[in-house]
Amino acid sequence: MALPSSFRTGYRLFLSWRYLRSRLVNLISVGGVMSGVAVLIIVVCIMDGFQERVRRVTRGNLSDITMTPREDPAPFPAFEQKIKEVEPRVRAVSPLIKIPVGYFYESNRRSQLTGSNRELFLMEAVGIDWEREKQVSDIARHVKTAVNPDRPLYDAVAQEREKKTVLISRRFAEKFLLGKGRGSATPEELTALLATDLSIAILNERADGTYAERTYNLWVTGVYEGEDVQQDINRLYLDIAQLRQMANVEHPYLDVRVKLKDYRDAKSVKTSLKGRFPSFSVFTWEDIQRDFLQAVESEKVLLIIVLSFIVLLGGFIILATLTLTVVEKTRDIGILSALGAPKTGVLSVFLWTGLWIGIIGSALGVGLGRLFVDNVNWVKDRLEDIGLYVFPPDIYRFREVPTIWDWKSVGVIVVGSLLMAFFAGLIPALRAARMDPVRALRHE
C-alpha cells in the first residue's frame, strides 16, 4: 500500500495540502485568486497589444525623424548627401510635401459649400519620392495592389498619356468608388480600380471664404491599406514632382523624413541634427504623437492599478479563509504542539495553505488568462452576434482586439499574486503559531 507522494514532503507541505483539499472555502479562495490573476493578465495583454497597435497606427507612415525647414531648404540629392555625411546613423532620407485637395462626389443632399448636390470630401495629397520614401516608411508594405508593384507611382500608360498617377487607400476606394462597407472589397474589385481616372481638385480659398478649384484627372496606379483607417481615407499618395507642379509649390519639399539605422539612437540623432541643421525643426515620431501616446500609457497604468485591487481582493479572501481555518483547526494546532511541532512548524503549515491557494490560483489564472487572450476575438465576435459591440472599430481604428502575451508581465503578476498570498497567509499563520497549545487542545 503506497502512501500518496505528498506524504513524502514533510508534515508542513503535507498538512497544508490536506487542509487545502478538505475545505470548500479554500477552493473558493483558489477561484478568487484565479479570477484576479486572469483578469489582470487579460487586461495587461490587451492593453499591451492595444498600446503597441496604437503606436503603430499613430505612427502611420511617420518616419523615425521628421525635419521641417523654417527657410528655403537645400534641394535633394545634395541635402540627402550632407545629412548622411554629418550623421552616419542615418540610413535613408526622403522629401515630402502635403497639399490639401478635395474629392467631389454626388450626394442626395444639397451641399452648403458647393451650392449643389456635389459634396466635397477634403483630403490630403502627400507627395513622395517613391524610391526614397519606401526606405523611410512602411508605404511599400502597405500597397495591396498596383499596376507596377515595384514602383506603384509609375505607369508607362500614364506616362504615355501624360497623366499624373495616384495611390488611393482601400477605405477611400470602398467608400467612394465601390460604395461598400469597410473591409468588404475583394482583391478583384480593388484591382479593377487600377488604370482608371480619379478626379481631385486642388483648392484655393478665395477672399470671400469660398473655394476656387482646379480639377485634375489622376490615373489610379495602386491601392494601399495602412494601419489607421481614419487617416487612410483622407490620404492620397502622389509623386512629389507631379504634386509640386499641380499645386505650384516652389519649395523642393516641406518636410524631410529620416530613417535611422537603429531607432534607439533617435534622441541623440535628433540632438545632433538640430545642432548641424539649425534652420530645421527636428522631431522624432514620438515627439509628434507625444500627447496621444502618453494618454494611452497613462490609461494603461491607471487600469492596471485599478485592477490590481482585484488581486488584492484575492489576498483578503485568503486572509479571511485562513483566519477561519485557524479557528476551525485550533485543536489541530494543539495536537501539533503536543506531538512536538515547533511554533515555526505550525506557522509554516498555515503559511503553506495560503501559498497553495496563491500557487494554484495563479497557475489556473495564467491558464485561464491565456485561453481568453488566445480567443479574445472569438469572444468579441460572439458578443457582437448578440448585439454587444465591446470593441467598435470606428472608435478604436482597428478591426480586431490586439493582444500581446508578454511572459515578463505575466511573471510580475504571478510573483505579485504569490507575495500577496504569502502576506495574506502570514497574519493567520502567526496567530496559529502563537496559540497556547493547552487552550488549543481544549478548544470546542
Binding site: M1, R8, F14, G334, P342
Partner: protein, 250 residues
C-alpha cells in the same frame, strides 16, 4: 512492584504552581505540587473533576508552563531549555494520549500515527529518506493495537475505542520514554475501556514504558504501580502501590 522505589527518577516536579486568569480574578489550579516519576512505572494521578489533574499533566509534559516551581527531566530543568528544544524533546521523548483522542480528522489512521515521525524527521530531504521506515513502523503499531484492517480509515469512520487505540499507536510512534495519558478511558464504555487499559499495561510490561495516567477512574488507578491523589491543586496523599487501599476515592 516493590522495586519501583529503587528505580531512578526520570521526571520530578518541585513546588509547581499554576493559575489562570478569569473574570473573577486568578484561579489557582496547582498550589505547590511535588512529584517524582520513576523509570518504567505507571503512575496514576487520581482526583475529582477540576482538581487540576490535566493541568498537572500538561505541566509535566512541558505543554504548559508552571507559574512557579521546577520541572526536571533527567535532571534537566525545563526553564533552561528554549521553546524549539522543548518541542523537540516532547516529540522524541514524550507521547500523549488524550481523553478525546485528538486525531486529525483529515488524516487516515496510518497518517495520524506517522505524524510524530514526520515532525521528527522534518527538514530538507530528511523525511524522504525516512518515510518508508516510519510508514512500516506506523503499520506495525496499528497492527499491535489491533487495527491492521483500519489503517486507511479516517477518524470519523472509527469507533471511540478504535480512535483511542490509534491515538495510543501515535503516542508510541517515536518510541517515547514517557507516555502521558489524560483520562485515556474517560470517553469509552466499560468493555472498551478495559481493552485500552490492558493495551497500556501490556506496553508497560513489554517496553518498560514510563506512564503518567491522569484519571478519575478509581478502578483504572488501582492497577497502577503508584497513585497520587490530587485535591484542590495539592497532592494530598502519595504512597506506594501496597497502600493504595488507604486512598480515599472521591
Amino acid at each position: 512492584m516493590s522495586d519501583v522505589a529503587d528505580r531512578p527518577v526520570l521526571l520530578s516536579a518541585r513546588g509547581v504552581t499554576k493559575s489562570y486568569k478569569t473574570g473573577a480574578g486568578p484561579l489557582r489550579v496547582l498550589r505547590g505540587v511535588d512529584l517524582e516519576v520513576r523509570e518504567g512505572e505507571i503512575l496514576a494521578i487520581l482526583g475529582t473533576s477540576g482538581c487540576g489533574k490535566s493541568t498537572l499533566l500538561h505541566v509535566l509534559g512541558w505543554l504548559d508552563e508552571a507559574d512557579e516551581g521546577e520541572i526536571h527531566f533527567e535532571g534537566q530543568n525545563r526553564a533552561s531549555l528554549p521553546g524549539p528544544a522543548r518541542a523537540q524533546l516532547r516529540n522524541r521523548v514524550m507521547g500523549f494520549v488524550f481523553q478525546f483522542y485528538h486525531l486529525m480528522p483529515e488524516l487516515t489512521a496510518v497518517e495520524n500515527v506517522t505524524l510524530p515521525a514526520m515532525i521528527k524527521h522534518d527538514g530538507f530531504g530528511r523525511w524522504g529518506k525516512n518515510h518508508k521506515q516510519a510508514e512500516n513502523r506506523a503499520k506495525a503499531l496499528l497492527a499491535l493495537v489491533g487495527l491492521q484492517d483500519r489503517m486507511e480509515h479516517r477518524p470519523r469512520q472509527l469507533s471511540g475505542g478504535e480512535r483511542q487505540r490509534v491515538a495510543i499507536a501515535r503516542a508510541l510512534m517515536n518510541e517515547p520514554r514517557f507516555l502521558f495519558c489524560d483520562e485515556p478511558t474517560g470517553n469509552l464504555d466499560g468493555r472498551t475501556a478495559e481493552d485500552v487499559r490492558r493495551l497500556l499495561w501490556d506496553l508497560n510490561a513489554r517496553n518498560k514504558q514510563t506512564m503518567v495516567i491522569v484519571t478519575h477512574d478509581a478502578k483504572l488507578a488501582h492497577q497502577a504501580d503508584r497513585i497520587v491523589y490530587l485535591e484542590e491543586g495539592r497532592v494530598v496523599h502519595k504512597d506506594e502501590v501496597d497502600v493504595v487501599e488507604e486512598v480515599e476515592l472521591g
